[in-house]
Symmetry: C2
Subunit: 338 residues, 2 copies
Amino acid sequence: MDSRTSGCQTFYPGTPPVIVGYGSAAGGKEQEGPLGPCFDHISPDDTFGEKSWEKAESKMQSLALDAALKRACLHTADLDLLLAGDLLNQCIGSSFAARTAAVPYLGLYGACSTMGETLALAALLLGGGYGQYAAAVTSSHFCSAERQYRTPLEYGSQRAPTTQWTATAAGAVILSRSGTGIRIPCVTIGKVRDKGIRDAGNMGAAMAPAAYDTLRAHFSDTGRSPDWYDLIVTGDLGSLGHQIVRDFFSRDGVNLDHYTDCGLLLFHRKEQDVHCGASGCGCSAAVLTAYLLPGLKKGLWRRVLFCPTGALLSPTSTMQGESIPGICHAVVLEGGGI
Amino acid sequence: MDSRTSGCQTFYPGTPPVIVGYGSAAGGKEQEGPLGPCFDHISPDDTFGEKSWEKAESKMQSLALDAALKRACLHTADLDLLLAGDLLNQCIGSSFAARTAAVPYLGLYGACSTMGETLALAALLLGGGYGQYAAAVTSSHFCSAERQYRTPLEYGSQRAPTTQWTATAAGAVILSRSGTGIRIPCVTIGKVRDKGIRDAGNMGAAMAPAAYDTLRAHFSDTGRSPDWYDLIVTGDLGSLGHQIVRDFFSRDGVNLDHYTDCGLLLFHRKEQDVHCGASGCGCSAAVLTAYLLPGLKKGLWRRVLFCPTGALLSPTSTMQGESIPGICHAVVLEGGGI
């Protein structure tokens, strides 16, 4: 059975797996945002009771996973696979959380596209008949990201208008190979796209080409138009990247109605002074688990195209004058009524 | 169809995919080792003509992939999926190589277990019916690893006897969903295991528990004994970690004949002064593509259990006093005659 036409980027799990649980954890700034009341766990001081930002990030993943398992009425021992990744060097946020989970573990790195990558892979693996339950988890933490990618918090540097604010948040989704619930009937795996943007303070512009590319591939592969979806959501392009994608499609004569971006949904952009919006793996993970999945469950939408985006740079690549490659993975989420 | 019994870590692709191509690239020290004549591409000065060690590492991945595609009589456009990862922060070795490949890309992070993780996932995805051809690629580079994980080369620090030497090498494997060749009938996905080793200069001891755990799970899940295999090869435990795994099994009353480690095969350990042996993603990748797969093809062995191992630490986690979690993924390779 070939669940993909040659040359396509879209794959169809044999039997679409369903989402049986989801959970989230977030920090203080996120608590003050529009989704504040929606998170399962909050740490107003962003420490989650831990002694370092990195340990706090692992703790967030564990808490998000616990909340997801609770909703699914499952325990970690029921999981056949755990797929996770984050922004920390060597993805230690994920692997140290996985250390306590004791589940077969697949570490992934897709930068801020990781929620899409983990969800897509989990869906494909279950759809391929490998196991009954899989967990897809990711996180980011403002403080650990600033230290690693930019400067220590105390440095107090100015942020350019094009910058975004890395979310302190984690999201976990539990998929089941069978049952009822929000289904994942297909996913589109992105290609690495680089249009020469070198400004590490403008991730939105760097990632927008990859989002455009994956969306176009998805529409072409499936024969669908954007209108087939009630909502299309990219991961963290922010206001500028979001507009760039709109412009790209506009040039093609395609109007992207019902298109938004997780980076625009996590904070009150002006009041919370996050410039172009939220970013980080945790951004799309938090918006997915605290807003999109509950909304699909309530019937606010029937079909959502969830497209987390990532910038595959490192401080080293930037220092070596490299441009910023981007990637975007698209996951179709169909509400229970379909 | 459930291709896994609940509680097991072992998964069986519906139709075992086959290896249709493999390729390798390596540096000067590796050229002087026992596998020197076996690599497809060599750069005696480790630069591969590039201006930085990181760019050299990306170049190695591209060269290894080219060699694999050539053996498979394929082009990058034929690939449905590219799975890759490495040791660099944000896995830039892989993503910058993937930038030129223009293939649907899944970035992975399993530290030095990445050759096992990419190969296992590629096999499962093709076995699940997702695409016809997939590439699994990984690399490491001594110079980029030293700078990132330890000290700049010029620092000239002493190396403890338990240390290993990060390989400058890349390996690529092309799998096909159908056809004839070396088959991958099953894989065992590891769990993160941590027995409290804190010495970042003794990775072998840190990873050995994970290797033991995955091997035990594999034997238990499949009902096989170690003797079922002509050869069992861990990724880069080195001499100490290799002995520890032997001791663990010995305590269980199990004799691990025909058991070796890629870290013991890449260099002339004493003459090349690599202490406990080679390490890095590139170690197992190079030994797989330059020695194990050619050997399976020639009929030296019929069944090989290939078990790359990884240490999931980072310099940050070590500085924060954390112990070192390990992971090991096992991939069964069956020669064409079976």
